[in-house]
């Protein structure tokens, strides 16, 4: 008995413009993460093409993907993925050390409102603070693309909103293209465009008439 081939994504045709804020909705197994992985240069498709500006990511080597992530992409993870051995500032410096024209770590942390807690270790920070450090780390390199995978998934309501505010601010002020994956439909109010995935396909696309601020949404 051979292994059945499972396609996580099929026939997805998507174009994202610079500076767009996109929210990606869909149930588990709908292909959200696969799409994010492809866009983030963590994976390559078995068929089809992925392009970033004039780079073709679909046939890129491991080293090329690494360079793409390093130069253009900022990631925010559900579980923050901070390095416990480094302080908040040092976690951000991890990225600024290897980026081409980053902002300073202090500046990035100021952006997320953590200037006071720069020298704390992750174990000394709350979940929301840790997530904001992760966002600071993601934006410090001034990425072209900010990819957030369930950024509020592990946070309580208030803290979650705080984190969304930071993301929205970055999108608005730095003109960073932002894509947020979430189960939380309420977040879609913040988006320029909302994509719904199901069974590996884009099953719905809507453009909210008015972009809400995080303060205006609730869930």
């Amino acid at each position: 008995m051979g292994e059945a081939e499972v396609h996580a994504l099929r026939g997805v045709d998507l174009e994202i413009r610079a500076g767009e804020f996109i929210v990606l909705l869909g149930p588990s197994g709908s292909g959200k993460s696969t799409l994010l992985n492809l866009l983030g240069g963590l994976d390559t498709p078995t068929s089809g093409t992925v392009r970033f500006k004039d780079h073709d990511l679909s046939g890129a080597s491991e080293a090329e993907l690494t360079r793409y992530r390093r130069e253009h992409v900022g990631f925010v993870f559900q579980f923050y993925n901070l390095i416990p051995a480094l302080t908040a500032r040092e976690n951000v410096e991890l990225v600024t050390d290897i980026a081409a024209s980053p902002m300073s770590a202090a500046e990035a942390l100021e952006w997320v409102g953590l200037a006071e807690r720069m020298d704390h270790f992750p174990s000394q920070l709350s979940g929301g603070e840790q997530q904001r450090v992760a966002i600071a780390r993601a934006v410090a390199k001034r990425p072209d693309v900010l990819l957030c995978d369930e950024p509020t998934g592990a946070l309580d309501y208030e803290t979650g909103k705080l984190v969304l505010e930071v993301i929205a601010k970055i999108n608005a002020e730095l003109h960073t293209t932002a894509m947020v994956i979430t189960h939380n439909a309420a977040i879609s109010g913040m988006a320029d465009r909302v994509l719904r995935l199901g069974n590996g396909r884009i099953v719905g696309e809507e453009k909210p008439a008015r972009k809400l601020t995080p303060a205006e949404i609730s869930w």
Binding site: S33, N37, F77, N81, L86, L94, V95, F121, S123
Partner: protein, 786 residues
């Protein structure tokens, strides 16, 4: 199979490379233990068996000339069951094409009615034909060392007359398993033992109706001391040189010391292996148990008792030990066989006999199991006792704090990567310490196992470069006037001549006694010096004897104490002498006196018995030719030739042990480094993969993990040098014996070699782990909590 056992098998399979690497460290320990001790056992068995079948005597004595009728009186000594008398003489031997003189020890033998003791084993050729003059059999080692063929003719100077002898066969004898003229070094190339017709030998030396060597066998469980004393008393009027028991018979003494080295190696080094294995197991299990907190909690929730859960993890360790012991037994058997073969060949035992005794296997396996279970229990202790609910929660997030360096204010001296490495090290100091200790242990084992070559080289250098500086040594058949020095200085090529006087002596202190010689040296002696291992020179002072420290210990005397000395030559003076001092000489059990004082003590006038010559190398052949015309010069030894033989014999054994130990040490290093790297990787995979997602390259991420290991290896190697030095000191202390004391000398090259082997093993382990770092699952880390 129970579900829990199935889990065990799958866990083991999942960690198979680690399991094998730990098992191999255990295998090295068990292999070394079984290999060395079974070699020891086999050699002791072979030796004793050979002694029994060849009827090796219990007591040996030489005299100047004793009538055969004395044999009856000797047989009457209580405990003596058998007496054999014979004539033994040393003579100059020459072979065509060999310039330096050789010594032949001629032993009178009745080939038609072979004696009961020291039975000869014919290895090749035939026995001398009855009635044919000049046919001899020779010890096999001489024939082999000289690459001679049977039928070889040679000249021997018998009592001033040149006699032509023909080799017709080669033999083995328990009496000359180690053939040496007494120096403690194997001397096969320059020292032949020849068995010749007893009657013609006696005739050649005017020894008809007399003997000068006697051998005794004693009844079972008879101590030799009394027989030695009684025999000395009987032989005294006939110029007895002092009897000795087996314990002090030269060949037996050296052989036994060699064999006993196996016991030291077989216990000290394997103990280190087992300790390291226990440490690695502890660390690996610790990680395993912590990673399985959730599973442990689930098992508890399902109603498993702590005991059963603990047993589950102990089984994990036990399986590894059983695997290690199984490989170790095979390895030990192979090693034991190889080493026993090497030694059997080296000692020329007539039979190869290897035996592996069950108690060795059981002891080894028991020790390994105890070490492993100890390591396992310590690791699982805390977690197994956690309450189920507590265990279900993830462990508290790792807490870090600024480095000591940073707390001191040096905040920006390190890069982020360096900071991560340093903080990880600082956070788990115990694990870092165990890793460092394990790697240092492997460096130490390499040094402890291979520094012998350095010690031997240093020994040779001191012995022949500083102690016996003469190129040629001469022993005179009878004491000669001290003025012989002037004659010797006139011989071709002699740049300097120096004379000494050695008198065989039995020294007594209380109930302890030892048979040696007192050597009288001139005040201005420069060719024969008395040095300790640090090359500090001692001189005998007026008013007594200066003793080798080992001899003083054996006699239990200290400077200022009095000794009873029985000179065993000439007027056989018995007198008290004072111990003026001791000296830690590396070789021999010597007693030194000022030459004039020794001669006064012996009441023999101004005489000497040996001389050392400093010779111009190009003139050496002419000098040796000239010495043949000096009839008093009974034995001539060219020191350089001794040295070559010694180096060649030791080189072969050293090479074998170096190879084995290098493999063993590399196994430990790989075991420690690899397991450590794997655990680090497992614990930090999430963190490292996150970094990869952030755009860190594989190289940069590898540096984070392997950098820590590199630091640990870098710290471990110098520590290993220190530990190796101490291990070498321990091994030397355990191996102290009569004939020589190895100096604690380790050349830089040995350190370098040990460091390089271990660093290379570390590098290989790191590269293996590097492959795994390259395969980190980047997608998974986004979705899972650590």
């Amino acid at each position: 199979m129970k579900a829990l056992d199935r889990k065990l098998l799958r866990d083991l399979w999942g960690l198979k490379t680690q399991v094998v690497s730990i098992a191999l460290v255990i295998a090295c320990g068990i292999g070394g233990f079984i290999g060395s001790l079974s070699t020891h056992g086999s050699l002791v068995w072979s030796r004793d068996n050979y002694y029994d079948t060849a009827r090796f005597p219990h007591v040996f004595a030489n005299a100047k000339r004793a009538p055969l009728s004395l044999a009856e009186r000797i047989r009457a000594i209580p405990g003596v069951v058998e007496v054999e008398t014979r004539v033994v003489r040393d003579a100059q031997l020459s072979l065509p094409g060999v310039v330096p003189p050789m010594i032949a020890r001629l032993i009178g033998f009745d080939f038609e009615h072979p004696a009961g003791m020291n039975r000869l084993t014919l290895r090749s050729g035939r026995w001398p034909a009855p009635g044919v003059r000049g046919e001899v059999v020779v010890n096999q080692r001489f024939l082999e060392a000289r690459h001679l063929a049977l039928g070889q003719g040679m000249n021997v100077l018998l009592n001033g007359k040149l006699e032509r002898l023909t080799l017709v066969g080669t033999v083995l004898t328990p009496e000359y398993i180690y053939a040496t003229r007494g120096g403690g070094m194997p001397d096969d190339e320059w020292f032949a033992v020849l068995w010749t017709d007893a009657k013609s030998l006696a005739a050649a030396f005017n020894m008809e109706g007399a003997f000068n060597s006697v051998l005794l066998r004693l009844a079972k469980n008879t101590s030799p001391e009394r027989a030695v004393e009684a025999l000395d008393a009987i032989l005294e009027p006939y110029g007895g040189f002092g009897a000795v028991g087996r314990e002090d018979q030269v060949s037996h003494k050296i052989l036994t010391q060699e064999i006993n080295q196996q016991r030291v190696f077989g216990t000290v080094l394997p103990a280190i292996f087992l300790l390291v294995a226990a440490f690695i197991l502890n660390v690996v299990l610790h990680r395993q148990v912590n990673a399985q907190r959730g599973e442990i909690a689930a098992l508890k929730a399902l109603g498993y008792e702590e005991r059963r859960i603990a047993a589950h993890y102990v089984k994990f360790a036990a399986v590894i030990v059983v695997l290690g012991v199984a490989i170790g037994i095979g390895l030990g058997w192979w090693l034991g066989n190889a080493m026993t073969g090497l030694y059997t060949d080296f000692f020329h035992f007539p039979q190869f006999h290897y035996r592996l005794e069950p108690w060795l296997v059981l002891t080894g396996a028991g020790a390994a199991l105890a070490a492993a279970v100890g390591g396992a229990l310590a690791a699982i202790h805390g977690v197994v006792r956690l309450k189920a609910a507590e265990a279900l929660r993830p462990p508290a997030p790792a807490e870090f704090r600024p480095l000591l360096l940073e707390r001191l204010g040096y905040v920006h001296v390190l890069t982020s990567s360096q900071r991560m490495i340093m903080r990880n090290l600082e956070r788990k100091p115990m694990r870092a310490a165990i890793t460092v200790a394990g790697i240092a242990g492997s460096v130490a084992i390499l040094i402890g196992g291979t520094f012998w070559a350095d010690a031997i080289e240093w020994f040779i250098d001191v012995q022949f470069g500083h102690v016996q500086r003469a190129d040629v040594n001469i022993a005179f058949a009878e004491p000669v006037s001290r003025n012989v020095r002037l004659e010797l200085e006139r011989l071709p090529g002699v740049q300097q001549a120096e004379v000494t006087r050695a008198i065989p002596v039995r020294l007594r202190a209380g109930h302890r006694s030892y048979r040696t010689a007192i050597t009288g040296v001139a005040d201005d002696a420069a060719l024969m010096r008395i040095l300790d291992a640090e090359l500090r020179e001692s001189k005998p002072v007026p008013g007594g004897v200066l003793l080798t420290a080992r001899l003083a210990e054996r006699l239990d005397v200290r400077p200022g104490d009095r000794l009873f000395a029985e000179l065993l030559e000439g007027k056989r003076v018995k007198t008290e002498v004072r111990v003026t001092g001791t000296v830690r000489e590396m070789a021999g059990m010597n007693a030194w006196m000022r030459l004039d004082e020794l001669n006064r003590l012996a009441r023999e006038g101004d005489v000497v018995s040996s001389a050392g010559l400093l010779v111009e190398r190009a003139q050496e052949p002419a000098l040796l030719e000239a010495l043949k015309q000096v009839p008093a010069a009974a034995v001539v030894i060219v020191n350089r030739t001794l040295l070559d033989t010694f180096r060649a014999t030791s080189a072969r054994n050293v090479l074998f042990f170096t190879a084995i130990l290098s493999a063993f040490a590399a196994t430990i290093a790989v075991g420690v480094v690899y397991n450590n790297a794997r655990i680090q990787l497992a614990e930090r995979a999430w963190e490292l993969a996150s970094l990869r997602v952030l755009g860190f390259t594989r190289r940069e991420v590898s540096v984070l993990l392997l950098g820590e290991l590199a630091l640990e290896i870098a710290a471990a190697i110098p520590l290993g040098f220190l530990a190796g030095f101490w291990l070498a000191a321990l091994l030397i202390a355990l191996m102290i014996h009569d004939v020589m004391e190895f100096p604690l000398v380790i050349f830089p090259a040995t350190y370098l070699y040990a460091g390089a082997i271990v660093a290379a093993a570390g590098l290989v382990s790191a590269l293996i782990v590097r492959v795994r770092i390259d395969r980190l699952d980047l997608v998974a880390v986004l979705k899972t909590r650590e």
